[in-house]
């Protein structure tokens, strides 16, 4: 169990992220209007609807994983498009303009194959938002893996978003803050690998936190200790 209490070179400082939603006033009633607006809205709007979707606390096992797919399913009742947009993982794109291009490609290809342009019912139009993001230090720090696990339980769910989702854009590489810190401070290659192997796009932030805590429990307190000790 020594690894649990081994001190890190640098402590892990937990931050949390809060997003206030701001309407842009732009709306689309049908798919053609929608795609034309997707082409011109600010990058912050794309970021809000695709990346920050998880931060809203909406995502449930029954839902689609971003606002565009959600609207395709429930606003336009176009389930084929909803499925195509669900499969687009925004975190696979380091450049938001490339992501925008990918969204436009999916929709235009879908429209090309479809004989009609789907419309939403009045009141079910898509309203484009952006967000005001506030990042706050929580004051919670971890110097050991044991403290890290404890800290993860103490922080708000916005912290999981900040360190696991947003880090990929901030660090400009496909890595979360948690595994980055563990790799940098402890010899736990399997734990680092396990965390990086999580298909995080399919989890709510609550599920993700539970999953990471379980991995920490499994990897540092149990059967893998001999490998790393």
């Amino acid at each position: 169990m020594q690894i649990l209490n081994k001190k890190a070179k640098t402590p892990f400082r937990f931050f949390e992220c809060i997003a206030l939603f701001m309407p842009t006033g732009k709306k689309a009633a049908n798919l053609r209007e929608f795609v034309e607006l997707v082409k011109v809205v600010s990058p912050q709007v794309i970021f809000h609807h695709l990346h920050q979707f998880f931060l809203k606390g909406v995502y449930q096992p029954w839902d689609y994983p971003n606002d565009f797919a959600h609207w395709a399913a429930f606003g336009l009742e176009d389930l084929v498009l909803a499925e195509k947009l669900s499969n687009l993982d925004p975190y696979n794109f380091s450049d938001i303009e490339k992501l925008r291009e990918a969204v436009v490609d999916i929709i235009e290809e879908h429209m090309w194959e479809s004989p009609i342009i789907p419309w939403s019912r009045p009141g079910q139009e898509f309203f484009f938002n952006e967000s005001y993001t506030i990042v706050v230090p929580t004051g919670i720090e971890a110097e050991t893996l044991s403290e890290f696990k404890e800290g993860l339980n103490q922080v708000n769910i916005g912290s999981v978003y900040y360190h696991f989702f947003e880090s990929r854009l901030r660090l400009q590489k496909d890595v979360d803050d948690f595994s980055f810190w563990i790799e940098d401070n402890f010899k736990c290659p399997q734990l680092v690998k396990d965390i990086r192997n999580i298909d995080f796009y399919l989890y709510s932030l609550w599920e993700l936190r539970d999953k990471i805590i379980k991995l920490l429990q499994k990897d540092i307190s149990g059967k893998r200790e001999q490998e790393i000790g």
Binding site: I18, M22, F127, T133
Partner: protein
């Protein structure tokens, strides 16, 4: 009165700690909320919870209520209808009366603060009397997505002077010359209306209302207001009754600023047509415990609104683990995730069909209700509302940014 630590077991320590962290970042602030009534209606309910909690977090917060003559509340009710899309007749004299009443209020109220939050159209023109050093925020709780043009044009003249505005849904937002934010309303899980009740308390309240038969209960709690469609609810009940026996409770709270309620209630009474299974309860604004009991005792809760700002009765019933059927309008679509946290309907027939379905599929009803409660815990409780307000105050300090790290 609940203290902030009491919410810890409901939303988790991490969310309460976050509120204190945000409040500490803000430091010393004085905030004043201004609304049109202290009792009745969602705004008053929310402020009753939010104001003491904000104070406990260290943000000095006051709540002022405007007063007005009968003519004033008639015109503001007409505004309410017009902003939700109904055609209304408002004379120039009525508009003058609105302005005069608010001028009088501005001269009486102490609005010296760092942030003044003005709720809904009734006090909106207070800003004409000067802003002082404060940042002014207009908090709109109603569905203004398709307002009557003349009334909106009149109000927009004042609203444009504010530093920011808050809407409950992005579809309600308008082209205004200042930042706009979306903040969902909330319920207080520890208020009289939502706290846990014992079976004994619930039974006593039912007995007081003379509700004693064992038929399944369909309930709609809302003001007797045309937009809540109480007549449509009665029609849906009658369609259900053809196949499945049940009873209907229509219970409405009045509000001090709503003179139209009694008129709608009269129409509803006519439509009851002597049916002993329809219970009409006109409740005073203080009947929170009674509403709580009725919601807890119901088998299905309806909110068949035709227009809705947000529809907090939906959230209340979801929190009490009730299957809810709501009209697919306004903020109800944000709360009810169709088929998962309730049913959304678009017609009387749709409401009737879903009632019948749920009455015959109790497992489905139970699963939906469980999903609903967790959904509310994450998104629609007062603690999240507090977090959004505190975040907004931080955002107001940095109006040029859209991403700040503090």
């Amino acid at each position: 009165m609940a203290e902030i630590k009491d919410y810890q077991t409901i939303v988790g320590k991490e969310n309460i700690d976050q509120l204190f962290r945000l409040a500490r970042r803000l430091g010393k602030r004085k905030v004043i909320h201004v609304s049109s009534t202290r009792t009745g209606g969602g705004v008053a309910e929310m402020l009753n919870s939010l104001v003491p909690l904000m104070n406990e977090l260290g943000i000095e917060t006051k709540w002022e209520v405007i007063t007005g003559d009968t003519g004033f509340f008639e015109v503001t009710k007409a505004f309410h209808n017009a902003l939700q899309g109904n055609r209304v007749n408002i004379s120039e004299r009525m508009l003058e009366n609105y302005l005069e009443n608010n001028e009088k209020n501005a001269s009486i109220l102490d609005l010296e603060a760092d942030i003044v939050i003005v709720h809904d159209p009734q006090p909106a023109s207070l800003i004409r009397s000067g802003k002082g050093r404060a940042k002014w925020i207009w908090r709109c709780h109603i569905d203004v997505s398709r307002p009557e043009r003349r009334v909106w044009k009149f109000l927009k003249g004042f609203v444009s002077k504010y530093d920011a505005s808050i809407f409950s849904m992005s579809k309600f937002a308008h082209n205004l010359p200042h930042p706009q934010y979306i903040i969902f309303p909330s319920i207080d899980p520890l208020s009289q209306k939502n706290r846990e009740l014992s079976q004994k308390e619930t039974d006593e309240i039912k007995r007081d209302f003379g509700i004693n038969n064992l038929k399944p209960t369909i309930l709609q709690i809302s003001r007797f207001d045309r937009f809540k469609d109480p007549l449509g609810v009665m029609e849906a009940y009658r369609l259900v009754k053809r196949n499945t026996d049940c009873k209907l409770i229509l219970a409405g709270g009045g509000a001090a600023d709503d003179p139209e309620g009694f008129e709608v209630l009269t129409q509803v009474k006519e439509q009851k047509k002597g049916d002993p299974d329809i219970h009409l309860l006109f409740l005073p604004p203080t009947a929170n415990r009674e509403i709580n009991a009725l919601q807890r005792d119901a088998d299905i809760v309806l909110q068949k609104s035709l227009k809705e700002g947000f529809g907090l009765t939906v959230t209340e019933a979801m929190w009490k683990k009730k299957p809810v059927i709501g009209g697919a309008v306004g903020g109800i679509v944000e709360q009810i995730f169709n088929y998962q946290t309730g049913f959304l309907v678009h017609s009387v027939e749709g409401a009737a069909y879903r009632i019948r379905y749920l009455l015959h599929h109790s497992n489905m009803a139970r699963k939906m209700a469980e999903n609903a409660k967790e959904y509310v815990r994450r998104r629609f409780l007062v603690t999240r509302h507090l977090r959004d307000y505190l975040s907004l105050f931080i955002a107001l300090d940095h109006p040029q940014d859209d991403y700040i790290s503090i």
